[in-house]
Assembly symmetry: C2
Homo-oligomer: 316 residues x 2
C-alpha cells in the first residue's frame, strides 16, 4: 500500500504541486481529507495540531517516520511520539529568529524610550517627558544561544549592547561578547540591564526564573520571556517587580495559554502581555515551506533529513 | 573688562571646574547669575533658552562670538543672531543620533509587531493575534542623510531593510544602499514601506510632505516625522491616512509645541504622538559636555571651533 504524506501546515497551491513532484511515491493528502484508516499509513507528517494528535492516538501511527512541525520547539508533540526512536522530528527553528528578535527589540525600545507610556497619554492630550534611556554600553544576557538567541544578540550589538549568551557548554557563539554555562548564567551574571529568555521547555528549564534568581539582580533589569511560560515562577516575578528587583517585564509565553482572564499579569502596570506572537512570521506559508522542502528533498533521496533535526536526547 | 562665558546648559560640578580651567581668561557665570549689564560682555554662550533670548534682545550682545546650543538644529535661535557673521554657532548634532534612531525603531517595531495594539488589549484581557510584519527586504527612505539619518540607516541595515537616503547633492553616504537628490526623494521614491523625516527646518523644508507627496505613495507606508513639524501639512497627512495613501504615522515634532489639546493628531487611532522626545539623551550633561569641551579647548587655543560648526549658508 502506498504510504501517505499528510499536510497540516498552511500551504500554497504551488507548494502542494511541488510536494507531489518531490514525493512522487507517496499519496499526498491534506489533514482534513484523512480518514481514520489513513493514519497507520502516514509516513511523513508536515505540520502538527491538537486535532491530529488525538487522531494519531486513536488510530495509531505504525508507519510514521518523520514529522516536520511548523513551530520552533517540540513540546506540543505527544511524549510517546517524541520518545519513539523510529520517528524523526524536524522543527522550524530559525524561521522564527527574525520576528522574535524584532519583537524583543520592540519590547526593549518601548521600555527604554517610554513609548507605551506616551501612547497611553494621548487620550488625555498629555504632553510631558517620561524617562528616556539608551542602549549603548548596557548589558543584555540571553538565556539560550541558538538561532533565536544569536539573532537577538546580533541586533543587540548593532544597538551597542554588551551581549552575554548562556548555553549548556559555555562554547563561543557569534554575536555574543561572552558566553557562559547555564549554571553560571543563572548564578553569576547578576549585573544585566536586560534579561531575555529564549530557552525551549525541557525538564531542566522549568521554574528556573524564581525568587532566588530575581533577588540576585543588581541593576533593576528589564525581564523578557519569549521562551516558555513554565520557565518562570509567576508569583515570584510579580513579587520581584513589586520589590524592585526587576523593573519591568515583557512576557509573550505563559504556563496556561491563552493567559486566564484573572491572571495578575494582565493588570500589572509594569508587565506587557502579548499573545504568544513574537515568532509570528509575515509570509508563513512561504518561509516554513523552504525548510520542509529542503528536508523533503533530502528524505526522498536517501531517508536523511538536512535541516533543523531535533535531538531526541536534548529535546530541541 | 574680562569677557564672560555664560552657562545655560545642564552641567555637573566637575564640568564647571573644568570649564574654569580651560577658559581661565574668562569670567564663568551660570545663566541665572547674569545681570542685565553682563549681556554685552558675554563672548561664549553654552546652552540656550527662550529666557536668554529675551535678555539678549533687551540688553544687546556686542561681545558674543560663539554659541554652543544644546540641541541639534538652530531654529530656536533668533534670526538676527543666526545671520550675524561675527557669531559662530555650534550644535549638538550627533549626540541625538543614537536616541533618535532608538526611538524611530521603537515606532517601527511597535507598528510592525502591533505592540501598542496588544498593550491596549491588556485592559480587557483580550488574547488574539493582530497583524505581524517583518523588516527584511522592506524599503526605508530617510529624508536627511546627516549624522541622524546615517544612524537610522545603520540600524535599518542591521534589521535587513533596504535603505535610501535623501540629501541635497545625492552623494553617497555610509549605510545607505542608495542616495538620491532632494527633488528625486520627494518625487521618484514612491515605493517605500517606511518614510522617515529627519530634515532640519530651513526655508526649503517647509510643507514638503503634502497631499501631492502622500498621494504618490504606492505601498501604504508608515510615515515618521522626527525632523520638524513645519515639514508636514497636518491636514494633508490626516486625509492621506484616512484615504489609505499612508497607513500609519508616528510624529514627535509639531508646528506648535506642546501640540494643542484640540489638534486632531491626538485622537487619531493611526497616529502616535510623542512630546518632541526622540532626541532625549540619557546622560545629557555628560554627553553634551563632550562636544562643548572639544570646542572650548579649540576656541581658547586659537579662536577656531572643532566640531558641529553650523554653516550660516545652509542653516545646519
Amino acid at each position: 500500500m502506498q504510504k501517505i504524506l499528510a499536510i497540516a501546515n498552511l500551504v500554497k497551491d504551488w507548494q502542494i504541486d511541488d510536494i507531489k513532484d518531490l514525493a512522487s511515491n507517496y499519496q499526498v493528502k491534506m489533514a482534513d481529507q484523512l480518514t481514520d484508516a489513513d493514519f497507520p499509513n502516514i509516513e511523513i507528517q508536515y505540520g502538527w495540531n491538537a486535532d491530529l494528535a488525538e487522531k494519531y492516538a486513536a488510530n495509531g501511527y505504525d508507519s510514521l517516520r518523520w514529522i516536520q512541525v511548523q513551530f520552533a520547539g517540540i513540546n506540543q508533540l505527544p511524549k510517546e511520539i517524541v520518545t519513539d526512536e523510529k520517528i524523526q522530528i524536524t522543527n522550524m527553528s530559525g524561521i522564527h529568529a527574525i520576528p522574535i528578535a524584532e519583537t524583543v527589540f520592540g519590547y526593549i525600545l518601548n521600555y527604554y524610550r517610554s513609548l507605551h507610556i506616551y501612547k497611553a497619554r494621548e487620550e488625555k492630550q498629555h504632553w510631558e517627558y517620561a524617562q528616556h534611556m539608551s542602549l549603548p554600553g548596557k548589558k543584555m544576557v540571553v538565556f539560550g544561544a541558538g538561532n533565536v538567541g544569536k539573532e537577538i544578540a546580533r541586533i543587540g550589538q548593532a544597538f551597542g549592547l554588551e551581549t552575554v549568551g548562556v548555553n549548556t557548554s559555555g562554547r563561543d557563539v557569534d554575536y555574543f561578547d561572552q558566553t557562559v554555562k547555564t549554571a553560571d548564567g543563572f548564578e553569576k551574571v547578576t549585573d544585566a540591564n536586560i534579561i531575555v529568555n529564549v530557552l525551549p521547555e525541557t525538564a531542566a528549564t522549568k521554574n528556573v526564573f524564581d525568587a532566588a534568581y530575581f533577588s540576585r539582580q543588581e541593576k533593576k533589569p528589564l525581564f523578557i520571556n519569549v521562551g516558555r511560560g513554565s520557565a518562570i515562577v509567576d508569583q515570584d516575578l510579580i513579587e520581584a517587580i513589586d520589590k524592585g528587583d526587576i523593573d519591568y517585564a515583557s512576557l509573550d509565553v505563559f504556563r496556561e495559554e491563552p493567559l486566564p482572564a484573572d491572571h495578575p499579569f494582565w493588570a500589572h502596570d509594569k508587565i506587557d502581555v502579548t499573545p504568544h506572537m513574537t515568532g509570528q512570521v509575515e509570509h508563513f506559508a512561504i518561509e516554513t515551506y523552504k525548510i520542509f522542502q529542503a528536508n523533503l528533498t533530502a528524505y526522498t533521496k536517501d531517508g536523511d533529513l538536512s535541516v533543523n533535526v531535533v535531538s531526541k536526547e536534548k529535546g530541541y
